[in-house]
C-alpha cells in the first residue's frame, strides 16, 4: 500500500515536472551554467590551489552539486506546502485516509528522488563533459553518506514545513539556512579557512559533514571506515532530527486545525 502511494506521488510529481516543459529546459540550462561557472572559476584560480588535497574544480563540482541538491530538496517541502495552501489542496490532502505525515514523507521521498537524479546528471556532466578529475570513487560509501545526508535534510525540510504551516514563513527559514550553508559548510571553500568560532558553527550543520563525507568518497575513494566520523555525526543528527521534525509537523498541523489556518498563506 505504501509503495502504491509512493508511486502515485512520484507519478504526480513527474507528470507535473514534464508538463512544465519550459521549466525543465531552464533547469537544465541553469545546471550547465553552474558547472561552467565552477569550471572557469577553478581555471582562474589555477591548479596550485588544492583544497583538502583535491583538484579545485572537482571540489567545487561536488560542493555546489550537493549543496544545491540538499537545499532545493529542503525548500521543496515548503514549496509543496505553499502550493497546497494556494491551490487549496492542503486541507483535502490532510483529510484523506492516509495520515498527513505519511503524505509529507512520500512527497519528500519523491522530491529527493528527483533531486538525486539531478545530482547524478550534474556530476556526470562535470566529469564526462568538463573533465573533472575523479579517481577511484567509492560509490558504496558515497551512497551511504548520501542516504544519511538526505535523512537529515528531510528532517530540516519537514521542520521548515512546520514553520510554514504555523507562521506562513517557511521560505524565510529555508533562505536563512541556505545562506548559512553556503557560508559555513565548505561548499566553495574548505571549512579550514574559517576563523575558529565559525568552524564551531560549521560543525553544528549536518550539511558540512555530508559534504565532507561525500567529497572523501567520490574524490579520494575513501572507504566506510575512512568516513566513520562524518557517518556517525550524520547518524546522530538523523536520530534526533527525524523524530523531532515529525513531532513538530504533527503539532503544526494540530495548531492549524485548531486555529483554522491550515490553508492560510
Amino acid at each position: 500500500m505504501l509503495i502504491d502511494k509512493l508511486v502515485a506521488v512520484a507519478r504526480r510529481d513527474l507528470l507535473t515536472t514534464v508538463r512544465y516543459r519550459g521549466g525543465l529546459l531552464v533547469h537544465i540550462a541553469g545546471m550547465l551554467a553552474d558547472i561552467a561557472g565552477a569550471y572557469f572559476l577553478a581555471r582562474a584560480i589555477g591548479s596550485g590551489f588544492r583544497p583538502d588535497g583535491v583538484d579545485y574544480f572537482s571540489f567545487l563540482l561536488v560542493g555546489t552539486g550537493v549543496a544545491q541538491m540538499l537545499l532545493v530538496a529542503i525548500s521543496t517541502f515548503v514549496l509543496a506546502i505553499q502550493e497546497a495552501q494556494v491551490t487549496g489542496t492542503m486541507e483535502v490532502l490532510m483529510t484523506t485516509s492516509t495520515r498527513p505525515f505519511v503524505i509529507v514523507l512520500l512527497g519528500a521521498t519523491s522530491a529527493f528522488m528527483g533531486r538525486v537524479v539531478s545530482l547524478a546528471l550534474y556530476l556526470s556532466v562535470g566529469v564526462f563533459v568538463f573533465r573533472a578529475p575523479v579517481q577511484h570513487p567509492n560509490l558504496l560509501t558515497f551512497l551511504i553518506v548520501l542516504v544519511l545526508a538526505i535523512a537529515t535534510s528531510v528532517a530540516l525540510g519537514i521542520l521548515a514545513a512546520a514553520v510554514q504551516i504555523i507562521l506562513q514563513k517557511g521560505s524565510a527559514v529555508v533562505w536563512l539556512f541556505g545562506s548559512v550553508v553556503w557560508l559555513f559548510s565548505g561548499v566553495i571553500f574548505p571549512v579550514g579557512v574559517l576563523p575558529q568560532p565559525f568552524r564551531a558553527v560549521a560543525e553544528a550543520i549536518p550539511v558540512t559533514h555530508a559534504m565532507n563525507g561525500l567529497r572523501m568518497a567520490l574524490l579520494r575513494g575513501a572507504s566506510l571506515t575512512d568516513v566513520a566520523g562524518p557517518v556517525l555525526v550524520l547518524c546522530g543528527f538523523a536520530l534526533v532530527l527525524v523524530p523531532a521534525s515529525l513531532w513538530a509537523f504533527s503539532a503544526a498541523l494540530n495548531h492549524g486545525r485548531r486555529a483554522g489556518t491550515l490553508s492560510f498563506y
Binding site: L15, G88, E91, M94, T98
Partner: protein, 265 residues
C-alpha cells in the same frame, strides 16, 4: 451508512494582530463561528443546512471532516468520535469542498482522481472502474483526459464531487454543490443525491438554494451566526415558497431578537 451527531459543538476563531502591528489597523478578538450546536443527521438521511453567509455551515462541515478541531463539544460519525479517532473518521467522510482549485492543474481529471484514489486506499484492482464510475456520476467522462487547468468552474465543482465519492463514503458532505452548475447539471446532481442518500450514504448539504434544499433534503436546519435556529422535516415534501418563508421567519426572527437585546442594553 452512518449517522452524524454534533453535541454542543463550539468553534471560535481567535484573531491576534501581527507582532509588529504598528499601524494598528488589524483587528483582534474572536469570531464564534459555531456556538453550542447540537444536530443529528440519521443514517441515510439527506440534511440541508441553510443560513446566511458566515452562519457556520462550512465550518460545521470542516469540523466533521476533521479539518478543524472543535473548542468544545463532541462530533460523532457513527460511533466514532472525530477528535479522538481522526483517521477512522477520515476513512468514512467524503467532503466535496467548495474551493474550485483544489486539484493539481497539470494533471488530467483522471490522473487527479487516480492520485487521490491511491491516498484514499481504494484497492488497485477496482481503482480504474471506480474512477470511471465517479466520472460518470459527475458527467465528466468525456473530459477525463483533459488537464484540469483548462476546466471551467462548474467542471471543477463536479470533479470535487467525484473525488469525494472515490472512497464510497458513508457520510458525504456537499458544500454548495450546484453553485457553479448549469440548471441541467444541477437537476442531474439533485436526482443523484436523492438516490445516493437512500442507497448508500448520509448526506449533508450546505446551500443557499431553496429549490435545491426542497428537491433533495429530508430535513433542513437553519443556522445564523453560528447558532442553530431551528430544524424542519421535509418528509411531506414542502414547496420552495413554503421553505423560503420558513427560512426568513427564522433568520429575521433571530435578527429582531438580537436587535431587541441590544436595545435593552
Amino acid at each position: 451508512m452512518e449517522a452524524v451527531s454534533l453535541e454542543s459543538v463550539t468553534k471560535v476563531f481567535r484573531h491576534r494582530p501581527a507582532l509588529f502591528n504598528w499601524l494598528g489597523t488589524e483587528r483582534s478578538g474572536a469570531t464564534r463561528a459555531v456556538e453550542r450546536v447540537t444536530l443529528r443527521a440519521d443514517a441515510g438521511q439527506v440534511l440541508a443546512l441553510l443560513g446566511p453567509n458566515g452562519s457556520g455551515k462550512t465550518t460545521l462541515f470542516r469540523l466533521i471532516a476533521t479539518m478543524l478541531l472543535p473548542d468544545e463539544g463532541r462530533i460523532l460519525v457513527g460511533d466514532t468520535e472525530a477528535v479522538v479517532h481522526t483517521q477512522a473518521v477520515r476513512r468514512k467522510v467524503g467532503f466535496a469542498v467548495a474551493s474550485e482549485r483544489s486539484f493539481f492543474p497539470r494533471l488530467t481529471a483522471r490522473e487527479n482522481l487516480a492520485f487521490f484514489a491511491s491516498l484514499e486506499e481504494v484497492p488497485k484492482a477496482i481503482r480504474s472502474s471506480r474512477i470511471e464510475e465517479v466520472l460518470e456520476i459527475a458527467e465528466l467522462s468525456s473530459n477525463a483526459d483533459t488537464l484540469v487547468q483548462k476546466f471551467s468552474s462548474g467542471m471543477y465543482q463536479r470533479l470535487g464531487i467525484s473525488r469525494a465519492l472515490l472512497k464510497r463514503p458513508s457520510v458525504l458532505l456537499l458544500d454548495e454543490p450546484t453553485r457553479s452548475l448549469d440548471p441541467g447539471a444541477a437537476e442531474h446532481l439533485w436526482k443523484w443525491v436523492r438516490d445516493f442518500g437512500i442507497k448508500r450514504s448520509t448526506v449533508l448539504i450546505a446551500t443557499h438554494n431553496f429549490e435545491e434544499a426542497s428537491a433533495v433534503a429530508d430535513s433542513v436546519a437553519v443556522l445564523s451566526k453560528g447558532v442553530l435556529l431551528s430544524r424542519k422535516s421535509l418528509s411531506g415534501r414542502i414547496g420552495v415558497d413554503e421553505l423560503r418563508s420558513f427560512y426568513f421567519e427564522q433568520v429575521d426572527g433571530a435578527r429582531h431578537w438580537e436587535r431587541s437585546v441590544h436595545a435593552d442594553r
